[in-house]
Point group: C2
Chain length 146, copies 2
Amino acid sequence: MIVEDLPRHACIELLARTRLGRLACAQNQQPYVTPFFFAYRLEALYSFSRLGQKIAWMRSNPLVCVEVDEIETPHSWSSVIVSGHYEELPPTPEGEPERKLAYSLLQERPVWWEPGYAKTASREGPLELVYFRVHATHISGRTARP
Amino acid sequence: MIVEDLPRHACIELLARTRLGRLACAQNQQPYVTPFFFAYRLEALYSFSRLGQKIAWMRSNPLVCVEVDEIETPHSWSSVIVSGHYEELPPTPEGEPERKLAYSLLQERPVWWEPGYAKTASREGPLELVYFRVHATHISGRTARP
């Protein structure tokens, strides 16, 4: 197996065609990582989440890291790592354009969890969805082939 | 879709049957997350890695978080999150029993990257593999069904 750095354009292409990643945040030296769905555009990853630990931590410390991979076989895989910072897209008049952009990007392909969120809301009462984006400050990747 | 907490025994079962997870560490409030392969035993996740950023950061700050999931369909998935701390298994006489345990656990099912590591070593010269385990201090999970 040969492991090499993934060229930047290939990192971008992988981010653009992938929807599922893992998002890590940290508080007081304790990291926290969860799966999340996103849409990539112009060095930013757009997403949304229920209000919970992840959002609380990213509001407190906006430094985040995203990992996205494609594992075809044990010896043929690619992994991209994005370091960046969290930016919330609030439901305010000023934030509305970016929020609409996020929504339209996420609508381009089916968003896995959104119908689930909506139904969960109807079972458990009102549900606050937080829209946000991760601004990429550093993108790198590695790829392996047999 | 109904989202529920995953009972502890189900979290443990998922960890025991899975090999691929994502490991997050942090340094100076900046998180970092990478895919990794592991074997679970008695509230610990055993693994190995090449010497690099991940190992350097975990040596500096042993607080880590591991995420492991099984996504069958968009509305049928489980995700387990383990908070814990990093412990290195050094190649010393004192560390040898735990290191051997790690090796035997990882050998029980094919370890995806180890042959790759070995071949990479032969191409690029000596390769230092660091064996370690993550002691789980908190395990939680969520599961979704339609």
